[in-house]
């Protein structure tokens, strides 16, 4: 069919790529640029057109620094525990178990449930009066009085991380399971013939074979965890005090509760920069492969 437009073959690629590029610009570029432009607008009407005062105010905001630290702890412990538990479960589910597909499905379930639902369920499980967790621990004599999981300043953040461990490990497990299945069986058989123990095989065959997948899982999980919002909002709303406040909940609060669009945008930009920096190794690795 002749539409009256003639495009040389060597330029055809641009035509195919164009819709995708336009879509990306629309759904990613536009909000990003809008957010960036908001972040350099003054909060006070009538002040200078553009300013860096929102970024300067971030440095002076005591809640922001605490929130940044909380985010770092939350992300580090969440991701580390996801990798450890995800790897352990992936290794188990990679074995020839009876009803293996069923176990794989069960292991995936926590990841399927929406964040907010997980938060609400666990808030009830942690409840000092009605909560199932305290009830079980009291009955087995592990504790003598109910624990205030979400109100105790020493426990609140770790209680949220514990839920996040349960919530997020299947994602890592799934990636690592795919990696495990790609490791040739004969490597293990050869190692066994050479007298290698299972632990030696794990450290000298499994881990090196999973290296790339671990980097992928790390990068993606870090990005996920920095953005984690619904879980914390449903469980603690950042409390007690600001002990469980993280960057995502703090940004939400500044934007939608306090209507500080400009300041919230500055926080969002900082978050984006941090996430980009974290993603660099992943991007580098992908580009190396190509």
């Amino acid at each position: 069919m002749d539409f009256g437009i003639r495009i040389k073959d060597r330029h055809m690629w641009a035509l195919f790529v164009l819709p995708g590029v336009l879509l990306l610009v629309l759904v990613l570029g536009f909000p990003a640029i809008t957010s960036l432009s908001y972040s350099i607008k003054p909060e006070k009407a009538g002040a200078a057109s553009y300013t860096l005062s929102n970024y300067a105010n971030l440095l002076k905001d005591p809640f922001f620094s605490k929130t940044f630290w909380n985010t770092a702890v939350f992300v580090f412990l969440s991701v580390a525990s996801h990798i450890i538990l995800g790897l352990a479960v992936a290794v188990v589910l990679n074995r020839a178990l009876p009803a293996r597909p069923l176990f794989r499905l069960i292991a995936l379930l926590p990841w399927v449930v929406p964040d907010v639902v997980v938060g609400i369920i666990w808030k009830w499980m942690y409840d000092p009066i009605y909560g199932a967790l305290n009830d079980v621990l009291l009955k087995i004599g592990f504790i003598s009085t109910p624990v205030e999981w979400l109100s105790n300043p020493k426990l609140a953040l770790f209680s949220v991380i514990l839920v996040n461990l349960w919530r997020g490990f299947p994602f890592v497990m799934l990636i690592l399971l795919a990696g495990l299945q790609a490791i040739p069986r004969h490597l293990y058989e050869a190692a066994a013939i050479d007298g290698a123990t299972k632990i030696q095989s794990f450290f000298h065959i499994t881990i090196p074979g999973l290296k790339k997948m671990i980097v992928v899982a790390l990068a993606l999980d870090i990005v996920w965890e920095v953005r984690r919002f619904g879980l914390i909002q449903a469980m603690t709303k950042g409390g007690p005090g600001v002990l469980t406040e993280v960057l995502s909940t703090y940004t939400y609060k500044q934007y939608f509760q306090f209507f500080r669009f400009e300041y919230a945008s500055a926080i969002a930009v900082v978050m984006t920069v941090v996430l980009l920096l974290v993603s660099l190794p992943y991007i580098w690795m992908i580009s190396q492969e190509e």
């Binding site: 109100s151 300043p153 603690t236 950042g238 409390g239």
Partner: protein, 429 residues
């Protein structure tokens, strides 16, 4: 023959003009309210909209539910995009932010068209709060006071007279201590005197208002330029509240994670004997646990006092989006949902008192109701939170400090002093 033909054609044309006149165009309005997510209210609102549609057959109303916690988020985003519902329902304390961003339409032209005296039916205070730059930008909705709800059976079991609720905070503490008990004899407390919110929630300030104001203190100075939390009375009120949990232990554990529904569940499950609530409390508690027979067992009393009778007022408001394409029809809808007839329906169905004097002040349905009569009696002592755009941030800062004191991270004095400094910094910004 030719003449007959012409007459025939003319007749057909005339008939066609009469018979096939296009019907007046149907207008569709978008109406959003968090109440649509609540069973009792949802039914009531649907009935109300059916009545409206009967009276205005050319106006179709589509209902958009939104969760209580997400309403500001939804309306902010949609307003910024120029796609907010034509009419929506928000807290009065959210209004300054909506006004400041130009997300509420000026209703003055519509009110002027209604003629003089149209607004006389409303209480002056809610009307005052609907104004932006001296002009009405929203219509007042639910108007209720916070009062003390208590379980009469639990009072009796603790040896307290259910007809003599506590009148002062000191008396309240004595009652709360008696009501904090081990009911099953296992040596552990399983019932507490008082249930209250401690989570960061818009509902917290409603529950703390009766404390701070009756102690004679306030959050801000009268000009709303500075924090007033450094007063001795504010310190006393703050410490009293914190110590209910930390020292007297008359509040159940886990306070900082407790939201409004958690506390109502505690009352419904007989874990606490007293809570601060309003018109919505009995139906919700009844819904959580019908076996309690909330309408029979619960009683309401004015919030206890320290130096003066004072309580917090809950006020909601109806906003018309400035982007509405059908402002006249949207106004008809707003007028309808705030009319005397429908405000009375909201009360009968949902037990919420109205910001209309000719409903809350005179309707026998309200004056003879054991809960609503107490709510209405407290309107003269009601106080609203400061209507400034920084209020949500100020309240969040205050609650953060209160939580730090409650969980023992800081002493009440230090936590309040920090809140005072931070609030001053917010106001100076």
């Amino acid at each position: 023959m030719k003449k007959i033909g012409i007459i025939g054609i003319c007749t057909v044309v005339v008939l066609a003009l009469f018979c096939f006149q296009p019907a007046a165009a149907e207008v569709t309005l978008r109406f959003s309210d968090w109440h649509l997510t609540e069973d009792v209210w949802n039914k009531s609102l649907n009935e109300g909209m059916a009545i409206f549609h009967k009276r205005y057959p050319n106006i179709k109303v589509t209902l958009e539910p939104v969760s209580y916690g997400e309403k500001e988020t939804k309306y902010t985003v949609e307003s910024a995009a120029g796609r907010a519902p034509d009419v929506f329902h928000v807290h009065a304390f959210s209004l300054p932010m909506f006004f400041g961003k130009g997300f509420a339409k000026d209703l003055t032209p519509f009110i002027e068209k209604e003629g003089p005296g149209f607004l006389d039916a409303w209480y002056p205070l809610p009307l005052k709060l609907m104004k932006h730059n001296g002009k009405i930008h929203a219509m007042p909705g639910d108007y209720m006071t916070m009062v003390l709800f208590y379980n009469t059976e639990m009072f009796k079991a603790a040896g307290l007279d259910p007809n003599k609720p506590p009148k002062t905070w000191d008396e309240f503490l004595t009652y709360a201590k008696k009501l904090t008990r081990d009911t099953n004899g296992d040596g552990k407390v399983d019932q507490w005197g008082f249930g209250t919110l401690g989570a960061k929630s818009p509902g917290f300030s409603l529950r703390f208002g009766p404390f701070i104001w009756s102690f004679g203190a306030d959050y801000l100075t009268p000009d709303m330029k500075r924090s007033a939390l450094d007063s001795a009375k504010a310190k006393e009120a703050f410490a009293f509240f914190v110590e209910l949990y930390t020292k007297h232990k008359v509040v159940p554990p886990g306070l900082t994670a407790m939201g409004a529904q958690d506390v109502r569940t505690q009352l419904a499950q007989k874990k606490v004997a007293m809570i601060l609530g309003s018109g919505w409390t009995p139906p919700i508690v009844n819904k959580i646990n019908p076996d309690l027979k909330a309408f029979e067992v619960l009683k309401a009393a004015p919030a206890p006092m320290k130096r003066k009778q004072a309580t917090a007022i809950w006020l909601s408001s109806w906003v018309m989006s400035p982007n509405t394409k059908h402002p006249n029809e949207a106004w008809e809808l707003m007028k309808f949902i705030t009319s005397k007839e429908i405000e009375l329906k909201w009360f009968v169905d949902n037990r919420v008192t109205s910001s209309r004097k000719d409903v809350s002040g005179v309707a026998p349905e309200i004056l003879n109701d054991k809960f609503a009569s107490v709510l209405a009696s407290q309107l003269p002592y009601g106080k609203v939170e400061p209507q400034i755009k920084q209020w949500p941030e100020i309240m969040d800062t205050f609650t953060t400090s209160l939580q730090e004191a409650v969980v023992g991270m800081k002493t009440p004095e230090k936590a309040l002093a920090e809140a005072h400094e931070r609030i001053n910094a917010i106001l100076a910004r």
